[in-house]
């Protein structure tokens, strides 16, 4: 055991005396964290606030009001500062100049093409079904109801192209434009659902008839323009944690960058076994009265200890600049488990690589791929479900899941299932590495 500790401490000492290693382990992740947090927002406030957006509503009808209602809702108004404009050319020029993030253009025939039946009733019969109450609809004379049914059937028979809302975004506001696109897309999706349900109700009214259906039509028609805008959006844009702490980039990127660069450290740590063979220090170790397994575990322990120190230093440093990783007990256990798992990846690579160069190339490839697949640079919540599942073969993904849970206010007990997953993964890594090491030491 004493020899194992001596070996581990030697590894740590060698790594922390290597300026290049320190730059990779500590300076680079801190720099990237700061840069990305500065780009996407720091501190405890919402990342996006008062993003300047122009709205050019040319619609001659009323259905586009849903968009105004969305923009005015409490949830979205905190994010977007929407200015209504009427001059399209001037508005586009302001976007081109990056004065505002984007311009939203609603075409003049938006209402006409969205539900032509309602537009026709207004123009032919002078009836605005969207404003009539249930009682008023029920009181309509039979000939009017009959004509309404005819107009409705005509509207079904007519072909119409989908109507578009244009978002003219500034390339200099890419994230803000993406956010705006998401908001509008959700609102449009909601509108489409409402139109479909309204169409079904109108169909029952005018094709099947019946007094009860009339009230449904009124309910559907009357609520159309307001329901979409005021109903809470099905997917919330801002991720609010149960702890009451809103999602912010600094928290997310601090942990994800630390995990990303932990992988660099452990893969290069594993590579030192091959480097020591070339340098002659491994053969010298092997002819000392020290069992080969002690040497192997000592080196692994050294790599793990280095990783632990790296993670703890990054945790401390990012906490000083305002990042929150979670409850200390949870973070400590998570770091320990993740470091063991990541060291397993390093062990797996160095066990099967033939040369130090090969191990280095493999380590870099695995680290970068793992970072891209696991959400090191963007929130995992935005990834497709299948990719989120696939990425769980890598410690990065588990690390980000665990730290996201801790950052959202969950404690050590809550993350135990995730830690169990990491443990299982770690055992698989070491089991796969063992035959490779046996081959190396016996060769």
């Amino acid at each position: 055991m004493r020899k194992l500790i001596t070996l581990a401490l030697k590894e740590v000492r060698l790594t922390f005396r290597d300026v290049g290693a320190l730059v990779t382990m500590l300076v680079t992740p801190l720099g990237l964290t700061l840069a990305m947090a500065a780009a996407f927002g720091m501190g405890g406030s919402n990342t996006f606030a008062d993003v300047p957006v122009l709205l050019l509503n040319q619609d001659e009808g009323k259905f586009s009001n849903f968009l105004s209602a969305v923009f005015e809702s409490a949830e979205v108004s905190a994010l977007l500062a929407v200015e209504t404009v009427s001059d399209e050319a001037a508005a586009r020029a302001r976007v081109d100049a990056a004065e505002v993030a984007a311009l939203v253009i609603v075409p003049s025939d938006f209402s006409q093409r969205t539900l032509p039946f309602l537009a026709a009733t207004e123009s032919e019969l002078g009836l605005d079904l969207t404003t009539l109450s249930q009682t008023e609809v029920e009181a309509l004379p039979p000939e009017t109801t009959q004509r309404l049914a005819q107009l409705y059937q005509q509207s079904l028979a007519s072909e119409r192209d989908p109507v578009s809302i244009e978002i003219y975004g500034s390339p200099e506001w890419p994230i803000s434009t993406t956010v705006l696109k998401g908001i509008v897309a959700q609102a449009v999706e909601r509108l489409n659902i409402t139109i479909q349900s309204t169409t079904q109700l109108l169909s029952r009214l005018f094709i099947q008839g019946g007094g009860e259906s009339q009230s449904l039509a009124a309910a559907a028609g009357g609520g159309l323009t307001t329901n979409v805008g005021t109903t809470e959006l099905p997917v919330r844009l801002n991720i609010i944690s149960p702890s009451g702490r809103p999602f912010n980039w600094l928290d997310y990127i601090s942990a994800s960058m630390a995990v990303f660069f932990l992988m660099f450290t452990v893969t290069s740590g594993g590579r030192t076994l091959l480097a020591e063979r070339v340098a002659g220090t491994l053969p010298r170790l092997l002819i000392s009265p020290t069992p080969a397994l002690t040497i192997l575990w000592g080196k692994m322990a050294g790599t793990a200890l280095t990783g632990m120190l790296q993670m703890c230093l990054l945790w401390g440093a990012t906490t000083l600049i305002g990042a929150y990783w979670g409850t200390p007990s949870g973070v400590l256990v998570a770091i320990m488990m993740l470091v063991l798992s990541a060291t397993g990846v390093g062990a797996l690579i160095s066990a099967w690589a033939k040369t130090s160069g090969q191990a280095g190339a493999l380590g870099t490839a695995v680290t970068l791929t793992a970072a891209a697949l696991s959400g090191s640079f963007f929130p995992r919540v935005g990834m497709p479900a299948w990719l989120r599942s696939v990425s769980l073969i890598l410690p990065n993904a588990w690390g980000i899941e665990i730290f996201s849970a801790l950052q959202s206010g969950q404690g050590l007990v809550d993350i135990l299932p995730l830690l169990g997953g990491v443990l299982l993964l770690t055992l698989v890594y070491y089991a796969a590495a063992l035959p490779g090491f046996r081959r190396q030491f016996e060769g």
Partner: protein, 315 residues
Amino acid sequence: MALVAVNHLTKKYKSSDRKAVDDVSFEIHSGEIFSLLGPNGAGKTTTISMLSTLLRPTAGTANVNGYNVQREPMGVRRSIGVVPQELALYAELSAEENLRFWGEMQGLGGAALQTEIAEKLELMDLTARARDRVKTFSGGMKRRLNLAVGLLGNPPLVILDEPTVAIDPQSRRYILDYIKELHAQGVSVLYTTHYMEEAQELSDRIGIIDQGKLIALGSWEELAQLVGQDETLHLKLHQVDGGQRLAEALSTLKSIHQSSAHDGEVVLNVKAAEVALPFVLAKASELGLSIHTVEIREPNLETVFLHLTGRALRD
């Protein structure tokens, strides 16, 4: 009982058709300096790798201090100190840290280790640089530290694998003198080298190894008898590419027992240099070659090697 007993030791690598070590047998007695002399690639390092338990023999047996290298590797490892050919040190650690680390790997610790570290630093004239990182050392200083590490724990057998390769004359002298001192203290030494003058100066007995086989074994006096009173003629030619032609032409002369050529230098084993020299000069002239220098040497290990293999030691 011999401290080291090697019997029919053989090693064949999977990657090679020929045997790196082929049926080698010898013994090393307590307090003896035993040298394995041979050119690069002769099998010296492979032999000591098997003796130090780093490589498993393909055939044969070897015992060190009574321990079998295959069955009792830990006993063997506790009995030996190895100074490898490469500088097996951590450049980012200081001399003292290196000694402490390797001492702990040998199972040493506490005050005993601290005392030994101070002793070794003093012996190797490195006390003043004890806390400097090894990467700042000269080649000679690194070699001395490499040697000091191999001596930690005062093992009964010290194995030195070409410890004087690529170092300055001063450090080389330092190391050779220290080995003599070890000998005086009764430590056994297994020394490998391709410098015949080192083997000749240090060794009680010498094993000459070539192409994996031990081709001669004995004290310097015993080996010298193999070549009788032969002298060696070293000729340096102006024409670098003419050496081989001259060596071949001279090999037919009766007064020349052996001849070899390397980089414009021709080495000849002759019974009497003053008799052979006129014939040699005439043959060179006949071939249109001009001789730059002629050197006559007394019988030495190079003569023995040439006699046994037909090649110069550095070929």
